[in-house]
Amino acid sequence: MSLTTFLTKASNLLGLKPNISLKAPPLDGEIIFCKNNVCVHPPANLNKNSEHHPGYMNIRSQEDEVLGRTLILTWIPNSTLTKNPRSIENSPRQGKPLCSTGSNHNGHNNNIRTTKPRNDEPYKDSDDGDVFSITPDSKNFINNYINNDDNGKCNDINSLDGIQAKNKYTNSINMDKDINSAGDNINNRNDSKERNGDDDDVKNEFDLLASTDSNFTSHKSPSNVTQSPSATLPAHGTSSSSPPQSPLSPNSSSPSRSNDIGCNDNSFVDVTSKDGDDDDSSGGVDNDLSFVCGVFSVDLGQMRSLRIFYSNNQCNSGQLVIASRESQYKILHFHHGGLDRLVQTFKDWSFLAQASRKGMEKDDSSHYFSIIRPFLPHELCHPDEGTMEMLRRETWRVHMNDMGVINDHLHLRKAIFFAGIEPSIRAEVWPFLLHYYPYLSTHEDRECIRNDKYLEYLSIRKVRLRMSREEREAFWRSTQCIVEKDVIRTDRSHPYFSGESNPNVDVLKNILLNYAVAHPTQGYTQGMSDLLAPILIELKNESDAYWCFVGLMKDTVFFSSPTDVDMDGQLLYLRELLKLLLPSFYHHLLKLQDGLDLLFCHRWLLLCFKREFAERDALRIWEVCWARYLTDYFHIFIVVSVLSIYGQDVVDQDLPSDDLLLHFNSLSMHMNADMVLKKARGLLHEFCQLETIPCTLHGLCSSSSSSMWDNKYTVKVQCVGHNPNETCPYTETSPTQIKQDSQQSPRSH
């Protein structure tokens, strides 16, 4: 599918009418989108609160005679901009000419306003103040920075250099709305100053930067002078008026790259770091953050996909995920709006692209652009969505009678299922969800249970400590050595486990060892430490955490380890549920030889999404699953939900199974838990509405604590065929015959 088609599709998704008003195509080198304080989050810190690295992002049109027009996206970290020493040193205040060349014409702006993203106030841009244009000249400075500081790893920056050469004097901007809002910027700097609401320091730096640029200009060859009129070309000239290509004059201190833009075949130009994927040079790459948070520049025409995930209902904040054909990913976070403008920019560009790209629809480039909405249409939600309130301390008390008995635990679980638990009362509620305390127990009962279980735990520990030497050796080899390796790398970034020789790490280890001793057939399986850690963090008591963990294990795929019957069972349910609820995805998997191995979601199932979502969200997902409202297998519905929300482009792009694995691995920590849960509840509702279900999924309906269907209904179960040696309780009945579950009356319809 061509980019045009994708973009068209995207705009359809948005419900936007294609903007057919004939807007002239952008000039070569024209910046068609820019936004500051777009964040990059270093992936190493995904589990902590994300570390923000704000930067300046722009998208530039680029023309090549052979290859046609494309867009170059560049992101420059604010730290880079402030670090550049040249901007301070070469700062005679002669940058004014930049600011004096005209005003707005017809909403177009020929002027340039050089600016510097406001580093000191990264998360507070107003919607108006966040739009800037940047002079191509400032790329000089960027290039200088790069070339000075990049220790010879310059071969990646062809594009920047080439662009610099090309568009040095093509100072045009094509963002009507934005320019209007950025406004009468140049002539009225006071205005923009007010609008930006920033302090004078920023403005000063801003000036410095501008002057630096013009300083460069003054050094340049006379050709500059002859070409300078192009700087005043209207932004919306026709494509034929593409600017004269300036020779690669020695206008910057950088050595000129001989490569021209179009020939640049580096798809991912991560300027401050050498991309490990390129050839076999092994330049010494810094291990620090500059690796992920350095200047990033990429030809969007070379990317496999662009995806936009909204994080708010206004559809202006969220993430832009860029995927290369090498399946590398870059995620740019828009915390403060601007994503809507980006979408609009892409959309506009697509119609421009259409004209110039006729006859090229059939190329094999797999661009993709999809819009994922932060809300679900009401009809796809569970009808009870939004009717429940989060379980808070006060409401939690209300659920108990004077004796402490929770009679209406269905209602309690329903609240948790729809709205979650207030984190501060987890320690009180989790023991019920994890089968440590029965709902119907009294305060007194629970006191007894707790005592008994404590003693029992002590005796388990005693068994472990009293092993014979041989036993101990065998145990060490089979279990302890792995547990010891794992506990020291489990949630160590959490305050509860952080620091050297933290005693809580030992508690974690002891619980796992005792569990292995008490459950010799299961022993220890990697991943258990990940499940136990949050429980211990909440309960803060070794024995209580142990027993809750025991309860949890019964519901996980680890339970029957190492026979992995449970894992197979879960995957079987998942396949069947996909077939039923997400047939397009299922059929895609079917096409792939090993798609049905579902490798990409093993970790989801093993750790119940712990590594796919930030801690806060992951624990909420756990609680929702533990609530066992309507089904014991809600996690399977969550998997289907993730696939339905984030898997559509897998199908559209016809990704093979290894790319599928990369795709979903790359989404980890970048998915919207709210939406995933909502959608999953909607899917469960959809499933409950089915008049017949295949016998393969009948197990999904049996919930240990509540029936999936209201008692007055039973569902038809249809045998969908088995291996000859297997028997199915539903085979005797004809496929259409009604199987009555527990009640006698067939489901009415």
Binding site: G276, S324, R325, D363, T490, G527, M567, D597, H602
Partner: protein
């Protein structure tokens, strides 16, 4: 848009990392593909992979390096993991003798699940822990010799030999492919290797450009 994609390569090789838990498989992977090392990396759950391309004898080889948990895995993972692999890095920790003793078990798993002609490297990792060395290089070299493995010692932490190890593995795979050692593969045709994207595992990748 009809650019020549960056994905252009001559061969795609799947290399698997195996070995006990905690020997440094994930860090070898990240060191080689991203030049990163993380002292506090989490245990690997499920399956992950990363790619990097290198040039051998003028051919661009794209290495797809797979990583999984060191401990016993679920059956569904194991078979998919080895499917289509043409190289394996069998990693142990030079400071933990037990991880070396388990090499036999890993070789057996390879024999059970992988192609007979798979290139196997025995990798003694963590050479930065000199003072804690528990496996002598000579012993490992001898073991490797006996079992027809290529032997190398590395440190993902200080980068020693990591590049070299993967290079050697890929060189050897390339050699075997050039000599058509992989019996079930016919250059230029769809391979019998039962994997989707890796159908072209050892095939010359024909790249077409529609420009």
């Amino acid at each position: 848009m009809s650019f020549q994609g960056p994905e252009e390569y001559d061969y795609l090789f799947k290399i698997v990392l195996i070995g006990d838990s905690g020997v440094g498989k994930s860090n070898l992977l990240s060191r080689f593909t991203r030049n990163e090392f993380n002292l506090e990396s989490k245990s690997t759950i499920g399956v992950e992979f990363a790619t990097r391309s290198i040039v051998v004898e003028g051919k661009k080889l794209k290495a797809q390096i797979w990583d999984t948990a060191g401990q016993e895995r679920f059956r569904a993972i194991t078979s998919a993991y080895y499917r289509g692999a043409v190289g394996a890095m069998l990693v142990y920790d030079i400071a933990k003798h037990a991880t070396f003793e388990n090499i036999d078990r890993w070789l057996k798993e390879l024999r059970d699940h992988a192609d007979d002609n798979i290139v196997v490297l025995l990798v003694g990792n963590k050479t930065d822990l000199r003072h804690l060395r528990a496996v002598m290089s000579e012993d490992a070299a001898e073991y490797a010799d006996r079992n027809n493995l290529i032997f190398i010692e590395t440190s993902a932490l200080d980068s020693t030999n990591v590049e070299h190890a993967f290079q050697q593995c890929l060189n050897e795979v390339y050699k075997r492919v050039a000599d058509r050692h992989f019996s079930n593969v016919n250059i230029g045709q769809t391979t019998a290797l039962p994997t989707t994207n890796l159908q072209s595992t050892i095939l010359e990748k024909k790249f077409c450009c529609n420009s």
